[in-house]
């Protein structure tokens, strides 16, 4: 997660705003029979978890905050986990792959981890070392 200590969006957004917003989105999704995920926002997982079906997380390993999202796994809900290590776009070193897939602050054996480039193009590497490139339109 990219983060900062200061809130400089000029809207004075607080955690309570995000919690309320997620509850709204979750209700809208439920009324359309759609699953919904919580993107990042590790500090509001406890409040939002009951309303969503999965987590999408960026860089919890790099930021050492994977523990924030373990509650999803414990609740039977997947964590779709992305790391953006340098060198992504071609297979990363076995050491880097192991580090990104095992976890940092906690072990994350049940996270659904992908290694991606920051622009989230078709290339992907998985924890077993396999890579693939999904065909995309120009």
């Amino acid at each position: 997660m990219y983060f900062s200590q200061d809130n400089n969006n000029s809207l004075n957004l607080e955690e309570s705003d995000s919690i309320d917003f997620m509850k709204f989105l979750a209700a809208e999704a439920a009324s359309n029979n759609l699953a919904i995920g919580l993107k990042n926002a590790g500090s509001i997982v406890e409040e939002v978890l009951p309303y969503v079906q999965f987590s999408v997380n960026e860089e919890c390993v790099a930021n050492k905050e994977c523990a924030d999202f373990q509650a999803f796994i414990d609740a039977g809900k997947p964590v779709f986990h992305i790391e953006y290590p340098s060198g992504a776009g071609k297979p990363v070193s076995s050491k880097a792959l192991k580090a990104n897939c095992e976890g940092s602050d906690i072990k994350i054996p049940k996270f659904s981890t992908v290694i991606k480039t920051l622009d989230l193009d078709g290339w992907v590497e998985y924890c077993d070392g396999t890579t693939a490139t999904t065909a995309v339109e120009a």
Binding site: S4, N9, F24, L25, N32, G37, Q53, A135
Partner: protein, 439 residues
């Protein structure tokens, strides 16, 4: 007598053995009236009745005898026409004289309607057929309608059965229609029973019957067999259904898009065309099935996320998308021709994939099809390294409306789930460079 002869006057004249005038069928009344201005010759010597004063009734369009006029005791020995053939009128629910009725000779062995219940009307001085009286095959031993409460009707000048009158001493085990709702009929000037009113069953489970406006009848009817299903759903959002006036039905219907989106969440009830009402009603007894729970992906499910471009799926059905993972997380708008074409998602489904549709819920992006809907009041600062992308005020009703619409689009496009990004504005400073590497 010289006047606009009314039906009632005609009846009197007929009973008195008077000369017949030219008879004009009256569609509204269902029987004939003498031509207007027709002079009816009468034999005053044979007239057994006093001269009743006839009062033109503007509302009914014909004259009625003055209520107070006295009727002279008539000489029954001279009666010839008292047994006009009475025709049950389904619309009115009681019988009327046959429009071109033949005079039945008294004592005619072929007479069939001699047992109609006739109700003496003190005010008019003659009897009227009992409302709802059944004509044929009546068993006098179980007659049920002879004690209906008669209410003087000031407008008509004679009595009508009480709308909600109870029949005294009737066999309740056989009752079916004792609580017929009476509806004022502006054309006739008095009330009629609601057609096909269902009886109310004590302890009925249907006390919350939906009332449906009926354009043809001009009043509401209970929805046929409609059941109100108690649902404990706390996330129902009916306040946001767009209601569209429907000229044909004369009332509003929910907009089609919302119906479509709701049909995704709720099983469709079987709709039965109701020929009487000319529109469909939920099938009697149809149960609203429990809402299908949203898709719950499994812990450890494999996935791929591609947001840079739309997926290339033009190589035909034989070309499997790679990698062969469970779930694809892709951009909602980029992969659906801006929310108009669900074929790419359908192609992924055809390959057994689940599809999560990504959109930014907490930031404004200038290049989305609905970007113009945001107002300046919705926007905060620009995100570093993302030119033109700005934080959104999450409490804004406008922002929420736009995001609600995006979710509805995701549903319409066939997405299994949504991935709303940038919902953590409280963190706020977001930039594109990786913070650090591990390993």
């Amino acid at each position: 007598m010289r006047s606009s002869p009314s039906a009632l006057a005609l009846g009197l004249m007929a009973a008195a053995g008077l000369t017949q005038a030219t008879m004009i069928p009256n569609a509204a009344l269902g029987f004939s009236l003498p031509a207007k201005g027709e002079t009816i010759a009468r034999d005053s010597q044979a007239r057994p009745y006093g001269k009743r004063t006839m009062i033109p009734n503007a509302e009914l369009g014909f004259t009625l005898p003055q209520p107070e006029s006295k009727v002279v005791e008539r000489d029954n020995s001279e009666r010839k026409y008292e047994k006009r053939t009475m025709i049950p009128n389904a619309k009115l629910g009681f019988t009327l004289p046959e429009p071109e009725s033949k005079v039945v000779e008294r004592g005619d062995p072929g007479a069939k309607y001699e047992k109609k219940t006739m109700i003496p009307n003190a005010e008019l001085g003659f009897t009227l057929p009992a409302a709802e009286a059944k004509v044929s095959k009546r068993d006098d031993g179980v007659r049920k309608y002879e004690k209906r409460t008669m209410i003087p009707n000031a407008q008509l000048g004679f009595e009508l059965p009480a709308a909600e009158s109870k029949v005294v001493e009737r066999d309740n085990s056989e009752r079916k229609y004792e609580r017929r709702t009476m509806i004022p009929n502006s054309e006739l000037g008095f009330e009629l029973p609601v057609p096909e009113t269902k009886r109310e069953i004590p302890g009925s489970r249907y006390e919350k019957r939906t009332m449906i406006p009926n354009a043809e009848l001009g009043f509401t009817l209970p929805a046929a067999e409609a059941k109100v299903i108690e649902r404990g759903d706390t996330v129902r959002k009916y306040e946001k259904r767009t209601m569209i006036p429907n000229a044909e039905l004369g009332f509003n219907l929910p907009s089609d898009p919302k119906l479509a989106s709701r049909s995704a969440a709720w099983q469709r009830r079987t709709m039965i065309t109701n020929s009487e009402l000319h529109f469909t009603l939920p099938q009697a007894g149809a149960q609203v099935e429990a809402r299908a729970a949203p898709w719950q992906p499994a812990v450890g499910a494999s996935w791929q996320i591609v947001l840079s471009n739309s997926l290339e799926l033009n190589n035909g059905a034989a070309s499997a998308v790679a990698p062969g993972v469970d779930i694809y997380d892709i951009d909602l708008f980029d992969n659906t021709a801006q929310g108009t074409d669900g074929s790419r998602i359908a192609a992924l489904h055809a390959q057994g994939k689940r599809v999560i549709c990504y959109f930014s819920a907490g930031t404004y992006e200038p290049n989305r099809p609905d970007s113009s809907k945001f107002t300046s009041a919705d926007l905060g600062k620009e995100l570093p390294d993302w030119p033109g992308e700005k934080w959104l005020k999450l409490s804004s009703a406008n922002v929420r409306s736009i995001m609600s619409n995006r979710i509805a689009i995701a549903s319409q496009m066939g997405c299994d789930g949504v991935d709303p990004d940038n919902v953590d504005g409280y963190v706020s400073l977001r930039h594109s460079a990786p913070m650090r590497d591990v390993g």
